[in-house]
């Protein structure tokens, strides 16, 4: 369970998160929508402790992320995150990209790590590309590799930050399919996305962010068909 309690976060003078409360249950898929600069990415990077917070707390399975005593490297092993920019390690093959963290962080042996990596890469449709270098892959393939890389750590939670936004339109579908598959397998996920059809399709709940506030959250049917907050209505009208 991820519990976000009254989280505030500023970059210098700019208050980016103004008291966010959100609890994500095991197995739940929550998508986050909202305008650019509303703090969606910042929230995700706070959840796995890449960014400090100013006030409030975030608990992952009861462990307080920003407590001084928390071992972040250990905590991050169970929170996978995939970013908009796919961030391949360009000097490693696809297989090595995926085996690196299991081997060095979890201490898994080479053969076993490769078996895990192969399974995950096949899962995302990259079983044929094991010894290819990432620069030879399309954006969509690189993004799926990044997903496999995160999954190879056997995380309990996956965070996705606009993973299709930097892709050519014809490559968006294959990545969304991968996310959908994960959701159907019961992965606990928080997905920041601009793909409204996708959000409607896979989410248990959809949250709308506006200027650092979670203005509204609800089941997809309710939020898309009967938005309560005026800003949500405005936003949905603008993206339709």
């Amino acid at each position: 369970m991820i519990e976000i309690q009254n989280v505030h976060k500023s970059f210098g003078q700019l208050e980016v998160l103004k008291g966010i409360d959100l609890t994500v249950q095991k197995g739940e898929v929550v998508t986050v929508i909202g305008g650019s600069g509303s703090g969606k990415s910042t929230l995700l990077t706070c959840i796995n402790g890449l960014e400090p917070i100013d006030k409030g707390k975030i608990l992952v399975d009861g462990t307080e992320v920003h407590a001084k005593t928390t071992n972040l490297n250990k905590l991050r092993q169970k929170i996978g995150i995939v970013f908009q920019q796919w961030n391949a390690f360009p000097h490693l093959t696809v297989l090595e990209n995926v085996t690196l963290a299991p081997r060095k962080v979890l201490g898994i042996g080479k053969a076993e790590a490769e078996a895990i990596a192969e399974k995950q890469l096949k899962h995302v449709g990259l079983g044929e590309k094991l010894s290819t270098y990432p620069t030879r892959l399309s954006g969509g393939q690189q993004q799926r590799m990044a997903i496999a890389r995160a999954l190879a750590m056997s995380p309990d939670y996956m965070l996705f930050d606009e993973v299709t936004s930097a892709l050519d339109p014809q490559l968006v579908g294959e990545v969304l399919e991968t996310l959908k598959m994960l959701a159907e397998e019961g992965m606990t996920m928080i997905c920041v996305t601009h793909e409204m059809a996708f959000a409607r399709d896979v989410s248990d709940r959809v949250a709308y962010f506006h200027k650092g506030i979670m203005a509204e959250i609800g089941a997809p049917d309710q939020l898309f068909n009967d938005p309560q907050h005026p800003e949500t209505r405005k936003f949905l009208a603008s993206v339709r």
């Binding site: 796995n48 890449l50 490297n73 250990k74 991050r76 092993q77 929170i79 996978g80 995150i81 970013f83 920019q85 961030n87 390690f89 360009p90 000097h91 690196l100 963290a101 060095k104 962080v105 979890l106 270098y133 620069t135 990044a146 890389r149 995160a150 750590m153």
Partner: protein, 217 residues
């Protein structure tokens, strides 16, 4: 017909000079590169302000002519510290620091060129700072910095000709000794240049080979 007084013994004498050039260069580049990596990484960790004292010292090594550094270091070691250290050791110490000063900048630039988003991806997989450095940052920085580093190593090899001022008989000094005796300056300098080329060529080619191999990634 071309005639020279150069004997095979003289050629061996030159080869020994070349050996000394290689020795001084290899030691200095090795130590200087290690120091450069340490300083370059520290510079990235501490930030420019905390690192300023080291930057200041390294700037001295980069801006004072090497010849002056060698003479002063030799005098300092002998007259102030009153140590009996060989000229070779003094030469290697000075050249190592000289190399480190340049190498620090090269390493800093290489590390800086690794995108922050790539490093964030590594950390988000649970890698520690050290693992990120070891498996992501330094390998990528090495690829970026290699051409400059090869240039530095070749430069240090040529600059090592100056260590004759601390009584180290390297290639150029050996050549001068023969010139004084044989009075065939042009021919001897030609041979000396050929020796330098033979030493440099493998390093330059090795750099080219690595660049080519890495570009397939």
């Amino acid at each position: 017909m071309f005639h020279t007084a150069l004997t095979s013994a003289d050629l061996i004498f030159l080869a020994k000079g070349a050996g000394m050039t290689i020795l001084v260069t290899a030691i200095s580049v090795f130590i200087g590169t290690l120091l450069g990596i340490v300083f370059g990484v520290l510079r990235g960790q501490l930030g420019p302000i905390w690192f300023a004292p080291v930057t200041f010292v390294l700037d001295i090594f980069r801006s004072v002519p090497l010849l002056i550094q060698l003479v002063l270091a030799n005098a300092f070691v002998g007259m102030v510290l009153r140590l009996h250290i060989s000229g070779l050791t003094v030469a290697c110490m000075v050249l190592s620091l000289y190399t480190a000063a340049y190498c620090t900048e090269i390493v800093r630039g290489g590390i800086h060129a690794v995108p922050a988003t790539t490093r964030r991806a590594a950390r988000s997989l649970g890698m520690s700072w050290l693992q990120d450095m070891r498996y992501i940052v330094l390998p990528l920085a090495t690829r970026i910095a290699l051409p400059s580093w090869i240039g530095l190593a070749l430069g240090v090899m040529k600059d090592s000709a100056l260590v004759y001022v601390v009584q180290v008989t390297e290639l150029l000094k050996s050549t001068q000794i023969l010139i004084t005796r044989l009075q065939e300056p042009l021919f001897l300098l030609l041979i000396c240049g050929a020796f330098y080329f033979i030493i440099s060529f493998p390093l330059a080619r090795f750099g080219g080979y690595l660049e080519k191999r890495w570009s397939n990634d």
